[in-house]
């Protein structure tokens, strides 16, 4: 059995061409994660550049309005570049530099991971190329320009469904063609081992901080920790340090699109089946012959037909629950949290907020929820306006 298993999920299902490189990455990571200088450099970048620790904010108005559990938001939206993606890219791009690479490539859906990678590449003097589905370059045109401002070259991927999965395909092909000077900075807890582990480790700073912060203000652990799930990196980062705290419920909120009973959905846990794709064994939206299904969500960041292998494992053993949230519910939550708390949250994060709005009123007043706001919603404003029938273009 190969390495990087989460129960039966995970593994390294990639072409032979990449195997040597993936082993090198694994060795480099195992070395540098314990290297005092690397740890110190990354810690400095996190504090002084990304703005960590991120706030654990008590949402008093929402708590009162929903009339149940106390609601805390872990504010990853306040990080530099506006999402949790910076946690991972600072780690990976620094690692790439230590490995002697001069170039990084990355896929992006909503553009957040692309912007974060381009940012880290600018800061750390690396050449940077971003692959983005053509449809997403239209949905998130502002982020394309942002990446270009940061010095990155953006490739619009025109194959397949022209969304996130096709961007991942393009990145894998590019990395296969050019491994010597390039590291593929994968944006989520997915792909072949060691990526799910590396991304989880860099993102687990979310739960490491949140756990300390909640103990400091409440003197106890939360009852629920929740986050949105596409590939699953902000959720994995939010869950990780709470996994051993058996009384903490972990809830991942995935994108149901028009609904899990329609074919316009991206809710992998709800409608997916076991498969092997993008280097990993996990759950995927696919047909009976294993052809990967075109998926849909209003959120470009959750528009992915698979989910990270550790999430698949947490689902299998019943440690985490995964719930689908529709476009309409997410948009309502997007509007609600803006009105109620003065926070414009990413449409991705709004999927978690939507489910929070369902469960908080049913919980006792003494109970505590931590919900991760993975990113800010500035990028989504025009799309939400259009969803509401307002003709607004960036």
């Amino acid at each position: 059995m190969s390495k990087g298993r989460y129960g039966k999920h995970g593994g390294q299902y990639i072409p032979e061409t990449l195997m040597n490189e993936i082993h090198k990455l694994e060795d480099a990571y195992e070395h540098f994660k314990n290297d005092a200088e690397f740890v110190k450099e990354l810690d400095t970048l996190n504090r002084e550049y990304a703005g960590r620790p991120s706030l654990l904010y008590f949402a008093e108005k929402m708590t009162r309005d929903l009339g149940g559990a106390k609601i805390y938001f872990k504010r990853e939206d306040l990080n530099h570049t506006g999402s949790h993606k910076i946690n991972n890219v600072l780690g990976q791009v620094l690692l790439a530099k230590k490995m002697g690479k001069t170039r990084v490539i990355a896929e992006t859906g909503a553009g957040q991971h692309g912007v974060a990678t381009a940012t880290a590449a600018a800061l750390l003097d690396m050449e940077c190329e971003i692959y983005m589905g053509k449809e997403d370059t239209v949905r998130q045109a502002l982020n394309v320009y942002r990446m270009e401002l940061l010095g990155a070259k953006v490739h619009a991927v025109e194959s397949g469904t022209m969304t996130l999965k096709d961007a991942v395909n393009a990145c894998m092909r590019e990395w296969t063609a050019r491994v010597d000077d390039t590291l593929y900075v994968l944006g989520s807890v997915m792909g072949p081992h060691p990526f799910p582990m590396i991304v989880r480790d860099f993102q687990s700073i979310i739960s490491r901080e949140a756990r300390e912060q909640i103990l400091a203000v409440e003197g106890r652990l939360p009852d629920v920790v929740m986050a949105c799930v596409g590939g699953g990196s902000n959720a994995m980062g939010s869950f990780y340090e709470f996994i051993d705290d058996k009384d903490v419920r972990l809830i991942g909120c995935e994108a149901a699109g028009h609904g899990v009973d329609t074919d316009k959905t991206a809710a992998t846990m709800a409608v997916g089946t076991e498969g092997v794709f993008h280097g990993m064994k996990s759950y995927f939206c696919q047909d009976e012959y294993g052809q990967i299904a075109p998926v849909y969500s209003i959120s470009a960041g959750l528009d992915y037909p698979g989910v990270g292998p550790e999430h698949a494992y947490l689902k299998d053993i019943g440690r985490a629950e995964y719930v689908p949230v529709t476009d309409e519910e997410a948009v309502q939550a997007f509007e609600y949290i803006a009105r109620e708390e003065g926070i414009i949250a990413a449409i991705e994060s709004s999927h978690a907020v939507a489910h929070l709005m369902k469960i908080a009123p049913e919980m006792d007043k003494g109970q505590i929820i931590i919900c991760t706001l993975s990113g800010r919603g500035d990028k989504d404003v025009a799309a939400i306006a259009r969803y509401r029938g307002i003709d607004l273009h960036e």
């Binding site: 072409p15 040597n20 296969t176």
Partner: protein, 258 residues
């Protein structure tokens, strides 16, 4: 003696690739037979996949054409049965792991044996994950074809040691301007392979001229042409038969003598 082994017996092998169901499954049978008549000694049949991450744009598009025309694994097995009524040419599938995983490893290998498929190339199944399918494949006498890349280096001995059928040597990293000191040339790779095993080698990726066929077949035991054949099918569609025959005949004439 396996059919694959016979393809390399006393001669260098020309291996032609096409995507099953492109443009239709009926044409796949005709094209396979045309390539055999033109002198191909083994045919690689691609099982279409929605997301072929190890293939370039030409084969990606063939996959889309085939899937849009309704090609399925069961349909491909039916065509193989029909081909087997007419020829003993060795047939090898190229399939991404998920299409086999969903079909079921045992059921897939069983059907290969029944229908007369001799081996399977799985581009996203490296040596480290082979145990997935090897028990089922061995039971049915199906060869899981080993791939070796220019980046394989110290892995070569490990990955080819127990290789059966033939060894697929990836000739290049596929993108111009990306050559580097960490990659090896094919002569060096084939040399190492031959010091470890007698399993024949075939070189593929980016080959499309008679001169390349001559050069590579002088180094290895066979050459594989894929994209160039698929491009002819893309251009001529249902009428591609005679063009394929002409092209393969020309390429086969470049094969070095054993």
């Amino acid at each position: 003696m396996s059919r694959i082994y016979k393809a390399f017996e006393d001669k260098k092998a020309f291996i032609g690739f096409l995507t099953a169901g492109d443009p239709t499954l009926g044409k796949t049978e005709e094209f396979v037979l045309e390539m055999e008549r033109a002198g191909a000694s083994l045919i690689e049949i691609g099982v279409p996949f929605s997301d072929p991450i190890a293939d370039g744009p030409v084969i990606q598009e063939a996959n889309i054409r085939s899937l849009s025309a309704g090609c399925t694994m069961d349909g491909i097995f039916e065509v193989v049965i029909s081909i087997r009524e007419k020829t003993e040419i060795p047939l090898v599938f190229l399939a991404y792991l998920n299409t086999i995983y969903k079909y079921g490893y045992e059921k897939f290998c069983g059907r290969c044996e029944e229908c007369g498929v001799d081996g399977v190339i799985i581009p996203d199944l490296p040596f480290e994950e082979k145990e997935e399918i090897l028990p089922a494949a061995s039971k049915c006498g199906i060869d899981i074809i080993t791939m070796v890349a220019p980046t394989s280096r110290e892995r070569i001995e490990m990955v080819v040691k127990e290789a059966t059928g033939f060894i697929y040597v990836v000739s290049s990293m596929g993108v111009t301007g990306a050559r580097s000191e960490i990659t090896m040339d094919v002569g060096e790779i084939v040399g190492i392979i031959r010091s470890v095993t007698d399993t024949p080698t075939a070189i593929g990726f980016g080959i499309n001229t008679k001169e390349q066929v001559a050069d590579y077949s002088a180094i290895a035991d066979g050459v594989i042409i894929g994209s160039a054949i698929v491009r002819i099918i893309a251009e001529y569609g249902e009428e591609a038969g005679p063009e394929l025959r002409k092209y393969v005949e020309e390429m086969v004439s470049g094969i070095a003598h054993a």
